[in-house]
């Protein structure tokens, strides 16, 4: 498996096949006497923006302090939760519990559900 080609930027699905973002960053452990290994997947936050330029990383941090869901720490999934790597990456987690879709829920609760005809969050199915 090639990490950049096969893992980085791939779509992540939880155990219910719910989209929960993309692989924005990979965390590796490089020990003195052991082979480097991937330990975590980073989702969202300033991580992808930092890959564009540190300036965008700082901007993303600042904006998140002004507005949006309260959770502050980086969403980080242990590599041991990876089930399959294919067209997308399936994780053995519940998207809601990881914080990966905090923004989705926050926008649904604070904006979308106040507009008539938005339906309920639990209804319908999708990709």
């Amino acid at each position: 498996m090639k990490l950049v080609r096969d893992v980085l930027d791939k779509e992540l699905l939880d155990r219910e096949e719910e989209p929960m973002g993309r692989v924005d960053g990979l965390l590796m452990h490089v020990g003195k006497n052991s082979q480097p290994r991937v330990t975590h997947i980073d989702i969202g936050g300033p991580v992808p923006w930092e890959r564009v330029h540190p300036f965008f990383g700082r901007l993303s941090r600042r904006l998140a302090q002004l507005w949006g869901p309260k959770r502050r720490e980086q969403v980080r999934i242990p590599w041991s939760r990876v089930e399959t790597v294919g067209r997308d990456i399936k994780l053995d987690v519940e998207a809601r519990e990881t914080g990966a879709i905090d923004w989705e829920i926050w926008i649904a609760r604070h904006i979308i559900e106040h507009i008539p005809g938005s339906g309920h969050e639990e209804a319908g199915d999708g990709h």
């Binding site: 791939k10 779509e11 067209r87 989705e104 979308i112 507009i115 309920h120 319908g124």
Partner: protein, 401 residues
């Protein structure tokens, strides 16, 4: 049948819209049939590109945006996102303006007054409608644009001259304007948002490899229909406006396009054609922009979901449509926005098309269904021509006013 409508909406809503009509009318009025080659070239390129977009989705189950992010990484994806969304946003302003202008000539009430109601209608169709409602509704209503073809035939053009116009020729005078209009026509024909919309539509309609033949038929038939109707607009403009020496600057002038051929219904048919074509395009562009963000960032997305289930996707198109209404509210001329947006589309084509060609030749995504050398060469050459012409003619047009 349902799949064929995807082609028709993509052609009528996406191909024939304010951009292609305005540029074709300008070309016909100023240069008679001389610029028909630009529509032909743009249509050929678009047929190839749309076919590729459908094939990528059917084989790899990826939309273009998803594959771009995965293959080239976030930083490059971000550059494409900024370029494409800015240009698509300008085109959306132009389309909403086109609906406003159509209502203005029908009712006499100025287009800025229509900015809010029109945006609201576009938004509510997206909010409440499903993908197939948008797909089928817009294609059916868009069929009124066939009136351009009826008018072209009724005016008995000189077919030899029309055929001659299909071959590129150098202009006698007004060189800068000639090339600028050619670039605008190419930009109006080869619209990248069409590809994003089409490949997302193929995923929404759950295409698989068995759709490859039908995809080829849809893209060829749909885009040819769009190109054919654009050519009809140019031919009618050449016959109606060119002899009078009218240089089309205003929508009101263009609205008389069909009245010579169809005196009784011409004015009404023109207004309705523009109204429906721009409405289809506005829906398509708003969806394409929302797809771009949602697919690139890995959000939940589908036009068929309840808005609460894909909140970020729905808030994206809501914000985009609201923002697009602002310039119109302040009376910014939609025709000027259109001309600028079309030329900019040409100038930014390599940003959209070059990475796409890489994807289409990647065995990881396409396996044995990769591009052949013909499609690679045709698309690369046409995009190169559009880009070079854009880089040369846009500054010339600005200097020349």
């Amino acid at each position: 049948m349902l799949q064929i409508t995807l082609g028709i909406i993509t052609s009528v809503g996406g191909f024939l819209e304010i951009g292609s009509v305005t540029t074709a009318v300008q070309a016909g009025a100023s240069f008679q049939y001389q610029l028909l080659w630009a529509i032909l070239l743009g249509t050929i390129c678009l047929i190839f590109l749309v076919e590729m977009s459908g094939r990528l989705a059917a084989v790899s189950k990826h939309t273009i945006v998803e594959a771009t992010r995965e293959r080239f990484g976030f930083p490059f994806f971000f550059i494409v996102l900024v370029g494409m969304v800015l240009v698509a946003f300008l085109v959306l302003v132009a389309e909403l303006g086109g609906i406003g202008l159509s209502l203005q000539i029908l009712t006499g009430i100025g287009f800025p007054w229509w900015a809010i109601p029109v945006s609201f209608i576009v938004w509510i169709l997206m909010w409440k409608g499903t993908f197939s409602l948008i797909e089928n509704g817009a294609s059916l209503l868009g069929l009124v644009t066939l009136s351009f073809a009826v008018a072209a035939v009724k005016l008995h053009p000189e077919w030899g001259g029309v055929a001659h116009g299909m071959l590129p020729t150098f202009p006698g005078d007004q060189k800068a304007k000639y090339w600028f209009v050619a670039v605008s026509i190419l930009g109006a024909s080869i619209s990248p948002y069409l590809m994003y919309f089409y490949s997302s539509g193929a995923i929404e309609d759950e295409w698989d490899e068995s759709y490859i033949p039908i995809n080829r038929f849809i893209s060829t038939f749909g885009m040819s229909l769009g190109g054919f109707l654009s050519m009809a607009v140019l031919v009618v403009a050449a016959l109606v406006f060119h002899p009078m020496g009218i240089d089309i600057q205003k929508f009101e002038q263009a609205s008389l396009l069909l009245t010579t051929a169809l005196p009784k219904w011409g004015f009404f048919l023109f207004a309705m054609s523009m109204l429906f074509a721009c409405l289809g395009a506005a829906l398509e562009i708003s969806l394409a922009i929302a797809y771009f963000f949602a697919q690139g960032f890995g959000w939940n997305w589908s036009e068929d979901l309840n808005p609460a289930r894909d909140a970020r996707f729905c808030s994206t198109y809501t914000i985009i449509i609201m923002l697009a209404a602002v310039p119109l509210l302040f009376g910014v001329d939609p025709i000027r926005v259109t001309i600028m947006a079309m030329a900019l589309t040409s100038a930014t084509l390599p940003l959209a098309i070059v990475p796409f060609l890489f994807l289409m030749n990647d065995p990881i995504y396409l396996r044995e269904h990769r591009n052949g050398w013909i499609s690679n060469t045709v698309v690369a050459i046409i995009v190169l021509i559009s880009f070079v012409l854009a880089v040369i003619s846009i500054p010339l047009e600005i200097i020349g006013g």
